[in-house]
Subunit: 162 residues, 2 copies
DNA sequence: TATTGTTATACTCTATAACTATA
DNA sequence: TATAGTTATAGAGTATAACAATA
């Protein structure tokens, strides 16, 4: 097993996996399974968020800026593993739609703190329902306790410093 | 919880996750954790495979065509969740390097069966060692039994028909 | 009529480097 | 001297549609 195989994430459906390949070495490769599971979850999530004019990324920024954390753009970039320049584009777009605001950080005048507006918080509330429903379909074959276990194990990989 | 948040996968390092955001709603979102874990595993895997002139995708094709399955391009596309036209490019490149061959499928003359050459099998053998080492580092915080559990849970999401 | 592989193209995402203003 | 945000651009990846050969 092992590797780090990846896989694309077309929005179009490639529903089934060919029989013969299921027995291949890749099917025991955690990185491959991670990639394929992610591609499926991402496609489902993007489809569900589209009705709110969001994608997984813009939804993520909206969630993160709707809480108490008041992240800077650099913090958003690190947490989402995006390049800072990509965060500029994301925040530009959300700001132009009136969903987030850039506020100067009083402690560091180089930094922008990004906060969701009331409209942004309202939208993310609706989007969250769609996202939840999509995730429910993706994880339909897992019990509630399986999902909790999966989350715990993934957290260990996703945040290695712990 | 829930959603379908995604995350990029830059090859450059964004090592740490900002403290404040760890407490946010996204950290309990399985789709977000899936995306972030995948981004980390993919970056590590691509870095490890680079010394063999491979990426996760071309490595995957090489693994799948090195076994007994003798997949067609369409089967590769479905299994890897790629568009058929992307498989054309991947196979073109591997074929030009003498690592795989297209063979006519005797049962269906429209289809190409893709098989690794001896050189391809030799390379994938070496690459597998690098990939394994990279995956070991990514999953260093998980026990052997945790990794098996993770693989089982991911397989359920990655191959929903089961 | 439908499917496999292919080509072409437009679009999005990713990687890099430079620049500014602050620290 | 280093960091946050920004801009620009080149490259990689993705989505779509069309076509020839075959089923």
């Amino acid at each position: 097993m092992s590797s780090t195989t990846i896989v694309g994430m077309p929005d179009t459906a490639h529903p089934i996996a060919p029989e013969g390949l299921r027995a291949s070495a890749l099917s025991d490769d955690v990185s491959f399974l991670l990639a394929r599971a992610n591609a499926i979850a991402l496609a489902a999530g993007n489809a569900a968020l589209a009705e709110h004019g969001l994608k997984a990324r813009s939804y993520s920024v909206l969630v993160l800026t709707s809480g108490e954390a008041r992240p800077s753009q650099r913090e958003l970039a690190e947490f989402l593993r995006l390049d800072p320049s990509q965060v500029v584009s994301l925040v530009d777009e959300l700001q132009s739609r009136g969903l987030v605001e850039r506020k100067p950080d009083p402690a560091d005048r180089r930094a922008n703190v990004v906060v969701a507006t009331d409209a942004g918080r309202a939208l993310v509330g609706q989007a969250r329902e769609s996202a939840r429903a999509a995730e429910e379909r993706v994880h339909a074959d897992l019990s509630e306790s399986d999902r909790a276990t999966l989350a715990t194990l993934l957290r260990t990989v996703a945040f290695p410093s712990d």
